[in-house]
Symmetry: C2
Subunit: 123 residues, 2 copies
């Protein structure tokens, strides 16, 4: 990658929801972009990985069992490892994730949206 | 941290330039925000750390010896470890960094802007 990655242009390249696309790798971490719409993410936990959610468009509730953090555009939150959580989009949400490479996006839970792997986006 | 971090409100909390503020830690990485203005960053290298630059405001040239990547708002770039580089802001730049905790922001080079450590911002 020897050029800038333009986030908005990346989002123009895919329309599927709940299917994070890898747009960068650094220090064993992946940067991913995702579109979310509808209440489809199951409660799940990442035992060993912290997960950052950064919202570009829409509103996202990051639900944890004892509290909910609501993210608006330009806001982010880190779910600490070991914390059961799920995310609930309001409207169509455009999101950036920062998390370790190889993370299972619904943890050990299998759900309709569960993917075996994430693909790279041709940025 | 049990609430959203609003990037724009974070930037309202500091005005000093070339002094990245830590706003989150995850998986051994730091998320930092910085303001840059003026041509002050020396050429330097991080031998073991990849470094991501995400621009919110202004224009930033990420210079490497054989190429320059220009970043506009909403764009990012990863400088791979071992790559000599410097960043040159055009105008006043607001920037987010993703990089390993403990990185020396000008590598092994000592310059006017070199800091011994980065502080956390009270987000």
């Amino acid at each position: 990658m020897k050029r800038a990655v333009n986030v908005e242009r990346c989002f123009e390249k895919f329309n599927d929801t709940f299917s994070p696309k890898i747009v960068a790798e650094l220090n064993g971490q992946h940067v991913k972009l995702a579109r979310l719409e509808g209440d489809k993410v199951p409660w799940h936990t990442h035992d060993e990985q912290d997960e950052l959610f950064f919202v570009f468009d829409g509103t996202l509730d990051v639900e944890q069992r004892e509290s909910t953090v609501t993210l608006h555009p330009g806001e982010f939150y880190v779910v600490p490892r070991g914390t059961e959580h799920r995310v609930v989009p309001h409207g169509h949400v455009k999101l950036m994730l920062f998390e370790p490479a190889g993370i299972e996006h619904t943890g050990k839970v299998r759900a309709e949206i569960t993917l075996d792997r994430c693909d790279w986006l041709d940025t």
